[in-house]
């Protein structure tokens, strides 16, 4: 099953890189989101992949008795997911504002005013 995850990581990274190389700002943003997801999965893979054993101690026990999923990557990813929401929302608003100003989704249009100044 890990191999499926490996495949998935590759696909997500490829898609993310391809999207951030586009001229459209929306695609750039989607690309960043995909890259974030890919990275989360990669971190997840760093820990031991375990099925059906969440890192939660049973009610009647004080420590784990058997194998359990690695909690450290999970804590890291949880933080990353929440932060990425902050990033995405800020980027979306930024994008909206840029569009309101220059009326274009084209990243190249961002350069033009500056060049005119020169």
């Amino acid at each position: 099953m890990e191999l499926l995850l490996v495949l998935l990581i590759g696909v997500l990274y490829s898609a993310g890189v391809y999207l951030i190389l586009r001229r459209s700002m929306v695609r750039l943003l989607l690309g960043i989101m995909l890259l974030g997801n890919a990275t989360n999965l990669l971190i997840f893979l760093f820990g031991n992949i375990t099925k059906g054993k969440p890192p939660i101690i049973k009610a009647d026990l004080k420590v784990f008795e058997e194998i359990y999923a690695d909690p450290v990557p999970q804590a890291l990813i949880l933080t990353a997911i929440v932060i990425s929401f902050g990033l995405t929302s800020f980027a979306i608003v930024l994008l909206k504002r840029v569009y309101a100003l220059i009326n274009s989704d084209d990243l190249d249009d961002l350069n033009t005013p500056e060049e005119e100044d020169l």
Binding site: A38, V72, K96
Partner: protein, 755 residues
């Protein structure tokens, strides 16, 4: 000092003279100590961790230089108070001058080569401000920049050299380095060290081929030229050579390099000086020539040569500062420095004439002046050098001296003799503060000429001792007896005077010399630097073209190459199937959905489809988390994904449709790059599976989650307890993002309201 600036702009600036004067008097007190062969030390902690401390030493050499710096400094402070009287930025000028003087004193007094370097750079910087003091003049700015870049570049080499020295000897202290001289000289890196130190010294002391910044630096106000180019800035390089001669000196490489470079410089600049018509230009070239003589003498390295060098340092400082100051007065009073227009000024500027005359005669080596003694010593040094070399060295010194005699006369006597042009009849003596300093220096030359031993035993002998390993006895005499040296001196004087009469200042000759300008080192270096500017332009255009995707493409490609190389050398990659878990149908279907969603997102031309695709990806990943025992992650991913979709839906209506302006080549290129990146990351992921996971951290959290933190959901315990600080900062970051969104939207409203 800054708040009081406006006071110093007026006549209160005279108070500032007390500063160098008191330093001078304080240093005079060290003469007895140093004379008896002792070295005085002062020590303050500064950056102990880097072994850089305010570690000062006063030996003969530093005392001599420090006295020159502070002594001539006092006179320059006085002179400048009159020269720049009423100047708008006089306060600024004095601040730069004080900074410069302090850093020069720092150079000569430091006992740590890194400290020396710091002061060395400070002189470069403060001289930049001084040379470019008339900052509304583009020429002035350009010369300041040239001076800074040449000396700054030299400083860079010097720093490298010093660090090498420190690594070889294991210490940065000059006192300790003197004991480690043999270690350094026998080290295999010695030639490199020598090269680096030489470049530092040559750039600072304007040696060929780095000499060109000095004539340019004549754009500075004359007090600056008088100070920087007689006693201080340019002598720093000489000081460095003198300081290092007991550490690095006395080898073939050392002697020959210095003799060749010094000899070349002194001849080249001395001959050049004769063709100039601008007084300051003449002085600039004769200064370069004098610096060449000094380098040459230090390279010669015999005891006689060192005595001659030290004496010449003092002599040159005295007469050159005088000549600069008289030139400054002429410039100030008549408004020109063109030799062809000046004449007969003795009738109106008598005291200035006396000072100029004495200085010119001293520079010519007239008996009974200090210059005579130094000229004698120079000939003595060259004549007593190696048998085969003596004749060439003497010849070089002779020619240089000839030209220097003539140049000195041109600068010190020519403007005062002949008939006074009508235009200058009304010229009158300036303030006393202006003509007294050159007169003082000129008479000091006369005094030392009569009583050479007063300087010889007090100052010159200790300085020579500090430079050479064996103690030297120095007895300066007016009369050496009738010998070759005396004949040479007299011949020099007579021939030099003859040259002075024959060589009339002429602008045509100047133009002829200027025609060689395109082959000069200055032109070559300027061409190099403009080539560099072009290269930077090209580099900026290709690498920093302002297109985000072009940056990203380069960064990603570079990362790919780096990672691929790392993977290539990182050993075999294999998959251990026994460790892998089985694939269930649900998982396989989930992955298929995910891949389909990715393809949809990438290829679609509709924004809505792309957003839907992205959210499907998110939900699918959420399912993966469910399979792999991460319930907290699954819940978070689910809610966040939902909210992100909502966010997109809110904004999406306002967004433009996708543009599709990429042509096929670009699409293929990007696809290749993207696939490459994905494959490399997959390989990395496989490699990760290969390595057994270190579970000690997870085990720690697992073991103590309940016993210490009384929680059973380990992920949550990590978030709110073990790593609570991180979570705290995370929510702070989130709050900042929310504030950012809020203000961005409000900002839009206000700006549109304005419209």
């Amino acid at each position: 000092m800054i708040p009081f600036g406006k006071y110093f702009r007026t006549k209160w600036c005279a108070v500032l003279i007390l500063l160098p004067l008191s330093i001078f008097c304080y240093l005079l007190g060290y003469i007895p100590t140093v004379r008896s062969g002792n070295v005085a030390y002062e020590f303050y902690q500064w950056v102990p961790s880097l072994n850089i401390n305010l570690d000062l030493r006063i030996d003969g050499l530093s005392l001599l230089f420090a006295l020159l710096i502070s002594g001539i400094g006092s006179l320059i402070f006085l002179y400048a108070s009159a020269y720049l009287k009423g100047h708008q930025y006089l306060d600024r000028f004095y601040a730069y001058l004080c900074l410069f003087m302090a850093s020069m004193l720092g150079i000569v007094l430091s006992n740590n080569i890194l400290l020396l370097f710091i002061f060395w750079e400070l002189t470069s910087i403060s001289s930049f401000f001084l040379i470019g003091f008339n900052n509304d003049n583009p020429d002035s700015r350009k010369s300041a920049l040239t001076a800074l870049s040449v000396t700054g570049m030299g400083g860079f080499f010097l720093l490298t050299g010093m660090i090498l020295i420190g690594n070889i000897a294991g210490t940065y202290s000059i006192s300790e380095l003197m004991n480690a001289a043999d270690v350094i000289k026998n080290h295999e890196l010695y030639p490199l060290v020598l090269l680096l130190v030489f470049i530092g010294a040559f750039t600072k002391s304007a040696q060929f081929p780095f000499h060109f910044w000095l004539p340019g630096a004549m754009k500075a106000p004359t007090p600056v030229s008088a100070y920087l180019h007689s006693a201080t800035m340019v002598k720093a390089g000489i000081f460095l050579l003198a300081r290092f001669s007991p550490i690095l000196g006395n080898t073939t490489a050392w002697s020959y390099t210095l003799m060749i470079v010094g000899g070349l410089t002194m001849l080249y600049a001395a001959i050049h000086a004769l063709f100039r018509t601008d007084l300051k230009s003449i002085l600039a070239y004769s200064t370069i020539s004098a610096l060449g003589v000094l380098t040459f003498l230090i390279g010669l390295g015999t005891e006689a040569a060192l005595v001659a060098a030290v004496t010449f340092i003092v002599v040159h400082a005295l007469y050159k500062a005088t000549l600069f100051m008289t030139t400054g007065i002429i410039d100030h009073e008549t408004g020109t420095r063109e030799l062809t227009q000046l004449g007969g000024l003795r009738k109106v500027l008598l005291p200035v004439f006396i000072a100029g005359l004495l200085a010119a005669l001293s520079s010519a080596g007239m008996p009974l002046l200090f210059g005579f003694i130094s000229k004698d010593l120079i000939y003595e040094a060259t004549l007593h050098a190696d048998q085969q070399l003596a004749i060439y060295l003497t010849a070089a010194a002779f020619v240089t001296n000839l030209c220097l005699v003539a140049a000195g006369f041109m600068a010190g006597i020519k403007p005062f003799t002949g008939s006074l042009p009508q235009a200058y009849e009304k010229v009158h003596l300036p303030y006393k503060a202006m003509w007294i300093p050159p007169l003082v220096l000129a008479f000091a030359g006369l005094y030392f000429g009569f009583f050479p031993n007063s300087a010889g035993e007090q100052l010159i002998a200790p300085a020579v001792n500090a430079m050479s390993i064996a103690p030297a006895a120095v007895h300066l005499k007016i009369w050496h007896g009738f010998n070759t040296v005396l004949i040479l001196s007299l011949v020099t004087l007579v021939t030099g005077t003859a040259i002075y009469y024959v060589n009339k200042a002429d602008s045509r000759k100047l133009a002829w010399v200027q025609s060689f300008q395109s082959a000069s080192p200055q032109a070559i270096i300027e061409r190099l630097s403009s080539g560099f500017v072009k290269f930077s332009d090209w580099y900026t255009d290709t690498m920093h073209n302002g297109f985000l995707r072009s940056y990203l493409l380069k960064i990603i490609l570079f990362a790919e190459l780096l990672l691929a190389y790392e993977l290539f050398i990182g050993g075999p990659i294999y998959i251990d199937y026994s460790k892998l878990s089985a694939i269930s149908v649900y998982e396989a279907i989930n992955v298929l959905i995910l891949i389909a969603a990715v393809v949809l997102t990438v290829t679609t031309s509709s924004r809505l489809t792309a957003v839907v695709g992205t959210s499907v990806i998110g939900y699918a990943i959420c399912l993966m988390f469910v399979y792999y025992s991460a319930p907290d992650l699954a819940m978070t991913q689910f809610t966040i994904d939902t909210l992100t979709v909502v966010l997109f839906v809110f904004v999406l209506f306002n967004l433009p449709p996708f543009i599709n302006q990429a042509n096929n080549t670009i699409v293929i290129r990007d696809t290749v790059v993207a696939l490459g990146f994905g494959i490399i990351l997959s390989v990395i992921a496989i490699k990760v599976l290969q390595v057994p996971t270190d579970i000690s951290i997870s085990k720690f959290y697992g073991d103590f989650a309940y016993t210490l933190a009384k929680g059973k959901n380990v992920v949550n315990v990590i978030l709110v307890d073990f790593r609570g600080f991180d979570t705290m900062f995370e929510i702070v970051v989130l709050s900042i993002a929310a504030l950012g969104v809020y203000s961005l939207i409000k900002l839009r409203l206000t700006s549109s309201e304005k419209e």
